[in-house]
Symmetry: C2
Subunit: 612 residues, 2 copies
């Protein structure tokens, strides 16, 4: 085989050197010493609760991690895209159906639902970079209630998730361009037959559920990060691109050739109108608008040096873009941008989309340091940019456009998450750096290290690292919300009309129809009714199991030995379990969730009579 | 259907009442106030490391949690019996084969390897209560290196894991009795055709790997917990039983009828000798010894009120058994036991096994409190018993046989774990209560609550709760080992002779043989070689991928969009990935483990050319 153009060793050396942390900061001020002695304020003593929930993506774990701040304790793992036997997620029929045959996902960016640009504590939306899906978690129960996808025409929707300021849409754009409609085309047709896409999912305000509303067809570039506009920019959304070089191999070199790639500014209200005006074609069952044909929807804003993060300030006016190979962030003024497009102050077009004049919209360039990736906001105009290569967080101020403080973190932060940081009114106080490398920071667990979260006190002039916690791979982004905004239920209602629920032992029954055995059973401390299920080899078995224990924290499990089944039934919940009894013999079933002093007695038998 | 004998409502009321925590301790001394204000000593500031590793079972998560003590930070989840996309475990060919088609496990009790009764930091052994398996984790890499099973003739090996004092054996006994040999028999044949079993796995001292050596056929009871003898009792192992009533339904009532069940004392050296003497039958391919026929192997010791835990003191002399419906623990003297069996001081036989005279072997009854489950040890003869119903830990002293202190925990502890607690020389200092319920202790995450670990300072006269952390379901037991005993490697060696490894770009190749495409590739910051893999629809594809980045913490991932594949390749490691290219089209692959500033550029394409 031909391996194509070979690697430039010098570039590799530079990158390795940078990542190894052997660099010296060349921007002032120098990092403060690390907060090794800082203790106060982060320890939450036994019996006290945390002030904030932080919802962190779990990356290729496919899950969401719920972390208490400031303690940094991981309170819960919410299974979303991967099966999770700890909660039986993926074994009962409802969750199995949601997962749709996929066994994992790459969950990158969580987005809390918003009302008027404030987190409202109702729903959490997440994206799956691996299998082109979106999911919704209901924060009443902390469980996944919808997985949508794979969504057609997009591929690796890394450039997500965010919701618009009143949770009208959950949007995501493709990281990888591919031939639209799932078709095959060789790579030498890349520039013509491959496309990027933005997919807009409309959200039902009552249920929180999404459906694909419309998409935009975009040039064959990589769309990386995104943010919703706020307030004055509320009708807009912003996406970063890289690889506008349209390279298909050796991206490390070939996608870093151009001096600038782009911010893509999307007017989603106008896109919505275009759909209403029937200005779309249907591709793979989805209404797709081509913004090169419908004007006013998409504009390109030049952004230097392989853009990564884009973040909109709380007032919606400043759009902060990071070129990861540039030691600066570039700040654009939304007001100037609106003026520029009104005046058609363009430097040209690229792939049919207008490119606005860089100098006309750029407000400032802030020299933050090496490898700037993402920016979060505090109150009073403070901004915090993570520096991957420099292993630091830079604090700077909107309007002043200069760095005021810098703190070293360990090591190589990706995103950070500020308290209420994505809202129109951030809290300040806490910022968590989500560091990709931990190296020597914790007891060693072999060649594969945990990620490392560090909690930074941002209440004073100087930032201070006050707490630190390892975490399983691999939080990419997180949102932090004031604890009192989240109002979970403690049990499911005793709904006597729920189909297949059984609340009284008198209603427990085993019924046979041909070779299909249906069990309506219940779990109660400390017994299953029934505790003997007799079937014949080859029977299909359906079990509906209701947990009638309505006390707080009395969850039961239902596991069958050697039948590879484990389901969790929360207080007041009904679960459906289905399998074919294809193995003859005697198989105990038991409560897999420690429930009481007689938990070990909570067992029964599945007896599978062999075929003659 | 007939549901059998109905529940006694009074019993339910009592149990619910107790569990609700509305009980008053009736044994002195009264619990101390909870350690809500206790702060000192538990907070590990940024940059400092923990003193101990705690290896906690993950219960029905199927995994092992590695927790730092005293910070209680979860440093790592080690996947064992369940797939784990965070580390790619279950997607590469080696781990897929180890899992053997099972998708989850119920991992109950971890056991560190020992030399002369001390943790030696080499291996960690665990059991799978769901699918009758045992696994070995190599503590050089913190990865699972062997899954053994399903092991024949045992069912739900809850009564595990422990290793003998020089890691000769890993033993586990069946919780559920079933017809031996995987046969079918109806429940009315329970007493005659169902059996319990103990399975002894011999451990290779060099590799740490197990193989099934021999088994004991036991009466059809439930075997619950176990512990290895130590020093003077080093040739022995002890198991608790319940349901010696041989009930097959309504165990909650029917298995609690007898005043006493038993401790089963097993002389494993004699069992080993019986095998050498060919005194076995082969059942399902395993050498099975019947201790009713070969004398001197198994003895029954009466233990009151539904036994649960059994724990052997550091000096090997005292065997502490807990009847979970009894407010006491019963302590037996191993020296008296040896005398009793020498003198044949038996009260009779049960199911062909001699029952030693209770009063002849019992040393003391310690009134610890309600719902005693498990006992751990400190130095100087101190013992710590968890009280599930009372939600407390009782401290008492060997020899004095009375409670010296009690501390409230939240809520309902199962096991606890003391520093070096299962060795011949426990450290004292720390004890972690593994509480099954957390209720209101943390920010609410809906109806399904986390478990709750509480760290108790046991260095003084009074115990003090000094830290607390929620944890995903469901740690059952944990072992805590001094940090300096564990010596992990930081990378895999650059082994140029390892089959299929590729260390130089010149050796990268794609080869086709018929419809089988084999790729020998490598991953290096920040590119895959090759980054284009062209195959035909229906081809079988095998990829060997070597991570040639040998710097600490530079792990790469390899994920293919929509092909449901995610694999982790640690520094210096080679992984094998195999799939059938059954979906035509263009599928990007990418590094799923953030590795450097140009991580987003680390991508390539799998092009699957459609059939004509």
């Amino acid at each position: 085989m031909k391996l194509g153009k070979w690697y430039v060793p010098v570039a590799l050396g530079v990158i390795l050197g940078l990542v190894a942390g052997s660099i010296v900061s060349y921007v002032s001020p120098a990092p403060t010493t690390e907060g090794e002695q800082a203790v106060s304020g982060a320890f939450v003593p036994p019996g006290k609760k945390d002030e904030y929930y932080m919802f962190a993506s779990g990356g290729h774990s496919g899950q969401v991690y719920v972390i208490g701040i400031p303690s940094m304790r991981r309170i819960r793992t919410i299974p979303v895209f991967s099966r999770d036997s700890a909660t039986g997620y993926g074994w009962d029929e409802e969750s199995k159906k949601m997962l749709g045959g996929y066994t994992w996902g790459d969950l990158h960016h969580p987005a809390l639902s918003e009302t008027d640009g404030e987190y409202d504590g109702r729903f959490l939306y997440v994206n799956d970079n691996a299998n082109n899906r979106a999911a919704m978690i209901d924060l009443k129960t902390f469980t996944t209630k919808q997985i949508l996808g794979p969504i057609p025409n997009i591929m690796g929707p890394h450039s997500a998730a965010f919701v618009t300021p009143n949770t009208e849409y959950f949007m995501m754009a493709t990281r990888f361009s591919v031939p639209m409609g799932g078709k095959y085309a060789p790579l030498d047709k890349y520039s013509k037959e491959y496309h990027g896409a933005l997919s807009a999912q409309k959200i039902d305000q009552k249920t929180g559920k999404m459906k694909v509303a419309w998409q935009l067809k975009l040039p064959p570039w990589n769309y990386d990060l995104s943010d919703a506009g706020k307030k004055i920019s509320g009708d807009w959304a912003f996406f970063t691109t890289y690889n506008t070089e349209e390279a298909t191999e050796l991206l490390e070199i070939n996608a870093s050739a151009n001096e600038t790639d782009y911010l893509v500014a999307i007017n989603w209200k106008k896109a919505e109108q275009a759909v209403k005006d029937k200005k779309f074609e249907v591709i793979n069952g989805v209404k797709v608008v081509d913004p090169t044909k419908v004007k006013g929807i998409a504009y390109l804003i030049p952004l230097p040096k392989s853009p990564h993060g884009v973040d909109v300030s709380p007032d919606g006016r400043w759009i902060v873009g990071s070129g990861k190979l540039d030691p600066t962030v570039t700040v654009y003024d939304f007001k100037k941008f609106i003026k520029a497009i009104e005046k058609e102050d363009f430097s040209g077009t690229k792939k049919g989309l207008p490119v606005v004049n860089f100098e006309s919209v750029k407000e400032a360039t802030v020299k933050v340091g090496l490898g700037p990736l993402h920016t979060q906001f505090g109150p009073d105009g403070y901004a915090y940019t993570t520096l991957f290569v420099e292993s630091a967080v830079a604090k700077w101020k909107l309007g002043e456009w200069k760095v005021l403080d810098k703190v070293t973190v360990h090591y190589s932060p990706g995103h950070s998450s500020a308290a209420e940081g994505d809202t129109v009114s951030p809290d300040g106080k806490y910022l968590v750096a989500l560091n990709k490398l931990s190296k020597d920071r914790h007891l060693s667990v072999g060649p594969s290290h945990p990620e490392n979260m560090q909690l930074i006190d941002i209440s004073g002039d100087k930032m201070k690292v006050i707490n630190e916690a390892p975490i399983d791979p691999e939080p990419h982004y997180a949102q932090m919300v004031k604890a009192d905004k989240i109002k979970p239920i403690l049990k499911y209602e005793k709904d006597e009309k729920r189909p297949h629920s059984v609340w009284k032992k008198e209603d427990v029954r085993i019924e046979r129809e041909g070779n299909h055995v249906t069990v309506h059973g219940l779990a109660v401390r400390t017994r299953f009714y029934p505790d003997k299920i007799e079937v014949n080899e080859g029977d299909k078995v359906t079990i509906y199991l209701t947990n009638i224990d309505l006390d707080q924290d009395i969850t039961h499990g239902f596991a069958i030995n050697l039948y590879d089944i484990d389901v969790e039934v929360q207080p007041g919940e009904t679960k459906k379990i289905e399998f074919v009894a294809d193995k003859p013999g005697v198989y105990p079933f038991y409560c897999s969730n420690f429930c009481s002093a007689l938990h070990q007695e909570m067992q029964g038998y599945l007896l599978v009579k062999p075929k003659k």
